[in-house]
């Protein structure tokens, strides 16, 4: 039997503080893929990721993760989530943080050492998280999400503020994880990260502009890079008639 898609979203609508944020999204994320969720700041990327991990109250629509409704108790040890701000304890050491999250997950005792190696923080294991640099803290947060080998990783801007070498290392790690069968959904507002993904979701103002492979997007828009492709798609969608402005062209 074929695996269900890692994520399946149908007609997802979300309002935050009375303001609509997502206006009926439909999308699919395949398993063993590295899917980039790209769009400008404030377009609803984080809200969509919160829906996928099941912490966002939604208005209507359906979000299924690994074949189960998002947020189902069955998913709690199968989905790793990294928020944009590092969500680890600043007043604990790196190992103490990872050991606690591993115990909560019921992961193996050797898991903290394994994930530390994966994010390249091996020599900082006894450092207090509060004394690490911003980029190192972000990697501790990522390491915590890698514990217990999740089937889906949801990462909110995991490479922001990292130097180019580290960014490249992390993207290589993401592809190794995908090759081992993990699906990854990674948000970014930096368009040049798009080329590193196997699949792209382009978002703007709470709507999905396109879902395609990087090459497919370039071919469809005739653009030379993803940024130009994004701009071409925005221009295209803005000239569509009847988008609530009374324009009946």
């Amino acid at each position: 039997m074929k695996n269900p898609p890692a994520i399946e979203v149908r007609g997802l609508r979300v309002a935050r503080g009375g303001r609509p944020v997502l206006h009926g999204l439909d999308l699919t994320v395949a398993d063993s893929s590295v899917t980039g969720l790209l769009g400008p700041s404030g377009c609803g990327k984080t809200t969509l990721l919160r829906c996928v991990v099941g912490v966002q109250r939604i208005e209507s629509g359906d979000v299924r993760v690994l074949g189960h409704p998002a947020g189902s108790p069955l998913l709690r040890d199968k989905v790793g989530y990294v928020t944009q701000a590092p969500s680890v304890y600043a007043d604990l050491s790196v190992t103490e943080n990872l050991r606690y999250f591993a115990q909560v997950l019921g992961a193996a005792r050797t898991d903290p050492a394994r994930v530390l190696e994966q994010v390249g923080l091996g020599e900082h294991e006894h450092d207090l998280v509060g004394r690490l640099s911003g980029g190192q803290r972000a990697r501790v947060s990522l390491a915590a999400a890698l514990l217990g080998t999740p089937e889906l990783l949801v990462l909110d801007e995991p490479t922001v503020g990292l130097d180019p070498v580290l960014r490249q290392d992390l993207w290589q790690l993401f592809h190794r994880l995908a090759a081992q069968g993990t699906a990854l959904l990674i948000s970014s507002h930096v368009m040049d990260e798009a080329a590193r993904c196997t699949e792209l979701l382009l978002m703007r103002e709470g709507r999905l502009l396109a879902q395609d492979t990087p090459q497919g997007l370039l071919t469809a828009t005739g653009a030379h890079d993803i940024e130009s492709a994004f701009l071409a798609l925005v221009a295209g969608s803005d000239t569509e008639p009847a988008r609530g402005t009374g324009d009946t062209r």
């Binding site: 966002q56 989530y81 304890y89 909560v104």
Partner: protein
């Protein structure tokens, strides 16, 4: 509820405290210093110290534990670690009971220290069994912890959390019978006082300092204090939501 996850949480909270020795020192030393001050403020009036020293043995730890717990859990909410934990296989009770156990241990240490000082060194006269006084002091610390966990749900910032101390605890302090006997209050004040858990804690210590033996009335007071702590914990669990707007 899951024992492994609950105890892992307790261990984690205690480790956080270990990295913050100044807070631990403040939690343990401040109630003792306040009791010592109280003793010398009423120097030469030993019956006054006997009257208010015993309730203070419970009240100071309650205030300290309330503040520490409210701020610690609020930090958990604002740092994003709560959101991470709620996407993991951790039941809400695992988290709250884990916190309550960790701070309960601190309350026990604090109670023992303050009790040793008050009864041992300062010679507080207790007619009833002294272990019962210690039990009330520790129950007060637990109550402070549970109330702190509960109010942290209603605070968005640490400023607000600290403001909940005068809003939540000082009315209880005024109405608990420490300043005026509860029986001589206006009826409506007496009703409010009846609904506040600290009144029972002070009632219990008053009975213990004046009457011999551990009567059923003291047991009821103690149960009310512990029951209020459990109720506050249950309400705290109800305010933890996996899905938020």
């Amino acid at each position: 509820m899951n024992t492994r996850r609950t105890l892992a949480t307790t261990r984690r909270v205690l480790l956080q405290l270990r990295h913050d020795p100044r807070t631990v020192a403040l939690m343990l030393v401040v109630p003792c210093v306040l009791i010592l001050l109280l003793k010398y403020v009423f120097d030469g009036q030993s019956q006054v110290f006997d009257h208010i020293g015993a309730p203070m043995l419970g009240i100071f730890p309650m205030i300290v534990m309330f503040l520490v717990t409210a701020v610690a859990t609020l930090r958990e909410r604002t740092s994003g670690t709560l959101e991470r934990l709620l996407t993991m296989p951790l039941a809400k009770q695992d988290l709250l009971v884990g916190y309550a156990l960790a701070f309960g241990l601190v309350a026990l240490a604090q109670g023992l220290l303050a009790f040793g000082l008050t009864v041992g060194l300062l010679g507080l006269q207790v007619a009833g069994p002294t272990w019962a006084l210690l039990a009330v002091a520790v129950a007060d610390g637990l109550l402070g912890t549970a109330l702190g966990l509960f109010v942290s749900a209603f605070a968005a910032t640490e400023f607000q959390a600290v403001q909940f101390m005068p809003a939540f605890l000082l009315p209880q302090l005024l109405l608990c019978g420490l300043f005026t006997p509860r029986a001589s209050m206006a009826t409506w004040l007496h009703w409010i006082s009846d609904a506040l858990p600290l009144s029972y804690a002070v009632d219990a210590t008053n009975k213990l300092t004046t009457q011999t033996g551990f009567g059923s009335a003291v047991a009821v007071d103690l149960l009310v204090v512990l029951g209020s702590a459990l109720l506050a914990l249950a309400l705290g669990a109800a305010t933890l939501r996996r899905r938020t707007a």
